[in-house]
Symmetry: C3
Subunit: 350 residues, 3 copies
């Protein structure tokens, strides 16, 4: 009974949101579009969380988390490619920054806080935590070094450095996948994989994961398009909108899935979604965009603004400090959210 | 017999120091005032250490350490409020900086060194160490973000950011107290609470802790007032005097108590006094002063100078690196003191 | 049979390289000199690795590693003294930087990678890892503080700060030796010392270690002298040549010995050679050069360039993050090498 109601709400709100987006004003003004899209995203995010959980049941916590993170970032990658093609590099960098800190601070923080309100202490594989920390540091280094050296470089040298560093990061990320999924898979797995009930069969679960991610992707875009008219209306800066509003909506998939995993005491999956997604963006999506820009004939460099580098470095350090013992509690969630709040206010005031 | 001698020395030197302060020159010149106040502070610090130990006997190492740190900072808070009222923001910030690095490097360093000369290895709760490290990082972030963004802000925006960040830090600190004293009290307690003998009953111990802290507070102020005439005489900068001389004298309470705890192998209490006091200043006292300045009508911002931020960040990182394994030895004390010495010389030369 | 062939190759190539160096052009042009010296260095590095291993057999992994690191740095110290005497401070600082990051990233990275391809996971004493991390942080602080404060200092004040900090660092390093070799020797030893066969007796092993180090030292210098004409020919900057080419060749001793140790699963010795050598350079060799420059009448300061400080800080942070759990695997080797590569490219483009 409950399931039928959910299915109707899911499909109904999604279709209505799409109609509202394409018909547009004057039938659906941006406020109405926003409300419909927001309701729809609650339904599709719920669907996605369920699908992720079911895939994690068959594939293990980490692989389930990885698939969730990847599908979530695929949507963001597609949007970013169009922005790169149009040469809107600053917007792309702002949204990359927002996505990294949104995952490391907001998604992880909410998961840790809400999981921690239910369980006194939650655990995940400590070796994975250590490797995540080292990879986060690599991501910070890969942004910090070009920004430092670019001050004494020509535009051409900066572009060269960015392209070479991008290739190196992508190779490193692929080696990390090979390491964590093949050669040291068992060492990085969560110790106890609780066998809960699965909602669907293995094949259906994966299909639903793909479908749910696609629905989130479309609905996110519809919501983002209304946000822009909102931000102009309220005089918000492009940096703030790109790094916070769009990132929050764009990470709805990671949000709902990670929180749901944390509430089921599957902290390994929640961490993989949040941190794993951040790492994927900084070590794979961002460098890939640099290489694609090369093909489009106008190279995007890896030189982020001081504000962006500070935000990413701060997020990486606090996430590293909190996750490195392989256990979390509600107060650590508070700490992550507090840092997100401080950064958000600073960016809002810029 | 020994106890009577101590009591006479304590009361006598304290009263004489007060008389010397209020009568002043020409009866007591500043050199004589300084010597009397210094002798008195040795006695009252000894008394305070004894009272802290006795309270810790009844309340546990951490709570005893927390009470010591709080009473110690209460005195500093009162002095700072008067400075804020007079608009002497730079002096306040210098003394906040000095107090943070003094506790994290000098108090902790001396405790670890002197404790380590007696015991080969000393231990304290590793979970507490991890949380302390994350909170120290939050403190650094809370100073670093306003300083970075303030460069492109108007004075008004900087004041706004400072006030909002201050409110967030105070809320975070109160949640930390709730977390560490209520919801996760047992997880953060030291594993073995050695039941030594208590010098006094529970009520007397707390009373003496309050009395001893008040005596230290008064005597510190008397000593500080002589230091100022000294510093003018020897041509020392305001920054150096505020960040080092005043901080060393002002932290006499934490000093004596922490070292005494370390020598009795109660490292948990020593760490709580040193690190806990630093955290209280950066996450509670400093933001509270910003909010109070708002009431006085002239907002103090949270923008510290580059030198101050570097000093605090450096202190936090080395203290984090040394304390995060939950065990200490004499060489780690040397490392903390070495960093304090380097910073002290750099500030002296500015 | 194999051993005789090696001995002939070792002595023959070394002597030929010496002859080529002193006879020089037109009989031996720089390309021929380079090839002969490179062949010789492979032989002498192999000899040194064997001698280190044999000493480690008698003295334990750590002491063996320490002796290797010290003999290796002795050669670099001698070369640097001549440069300091000639007032070539920038070249000295570049080669100090290169030696520190070369050991922490390239030598450690190769050891961890090549050891990790043979063993799934390699372990070393976790307490040693923690102390190494704290000492690395001290090294970064000792470079960072003078550089930050020097901006508002006169040349004279900067020189004073550099000399005082140098004395402090040397004292700290000597106390570290006393701590790790005397008072806490057992706590820092590797848990299992595998008793392999020793190639030679104890006395012969130490003699061969000294002889092999001297041979490496000479041959490195011969190789370095050819590198300089190379670098002019290919238009490489002094910074890149000093920080990368010379450092790679100059650390040949550490390289071969550390990798050999890693391949024999003696990770404790490999880490001691790589990290221990870096620490010795930053906490002992560099400050000693400052003090020696004082004697020569023209004080070298401790103010490194922004690029150099970023490189050293980045290297220290990633090495700390990777080594602090006391275990390594092939991917962690990749991470270290990736960071070295990024820095190398950035310095090459400057």
């Amino acid at each position: 009974m409950k399931r039928y109601g959910f299915t109707i709400g899911l499909i109904g709100s999604f279709l209505l949101s799409g109609v509202a987006h394409y018909v547009g004003a004057p039938v659906f003004n941006s406020t109405v579009q926003f409300i419909i899209a927001a309701i729809a995203i609650i339904f599709v995010a719920g669907f996605l969380g369920k699908a992720t959980e079911s895939v994690a049941h068959y594939a293990g916590e980490r692989l389930g988390g990885f698939l969730n993170a990847t599908f979530g970032n695929a949507a963001e990658l597609i949007i970013a490619i169009f922005l790169v093609k149009d040469g809107l590099f600053e917007v792309v960098k702002a949204s990359i920054t927002g996505s990294i800190i949104g995952n490391m601070l907001l998604v992880l923080g909410l998961s840790v806080l809400l999981g921690g309100l239910k369980y006194k202490e939650q655990h995940f594989n400590i070796k994975l935590a250590g490797h995540n920390a080292s990879l986060m540091l690599l991501a910070v280094i890969a942004l910090f070094v070009p920004a430092t050296f670019a001050r004494s470089f020509t535009t051409h040298e900066t572009a060269n450095l960015s392209v070479i560093v991008s290739v190196i990061l992508i190779v490193a990320y692929l080696l990390w996948l090979f390491f964590s999924m093949v050669t040291h898979k068992n060492e990085l797995a969560d110790e106890v994989v609780e066998q809960g009930e699965a909602a669907w069969s293995k094949g259906t679960s994966i299909l639903f994961l793909v479908v749910a991610t696609a629905m989130v992707a479309f609905d996110s875009e519809w919501l983002v398009s209304t946000l822009e008219s909102f931000s102009h209306q309220y005089g918000l800066s492009e940096l703030f909108v790109g790094a916070f509003l769009i990132a929050i909506v764009g990470n709805a998939a990671e949000h709902s899935a990670a929180v749901m995993m944390a509430r089921k005491n599957k902290m390994g999956a929640a961490v993989e979604i949040a941190i794993g997604s951040s790492l994927q963006i900084s070590l794979f999506v961002a460098p890939l965009l640099v290489l694609l820009s090369l093909i489009f004939g106008n190279t995007m460099d890896l030189v982020f603004s001081n504000f962006e580098i500070v935000a990413i470095a701060v997020a990486a350090f606090i996430a590293k400090s909190i996750s490195q013992d392989g256990s979390t509690n509600w107060f650590e969630g508070v700490l992550l959210l507090v840092v997100y709040l401080i950064l958000g206010i600073a960016f809002f005031l810029v």
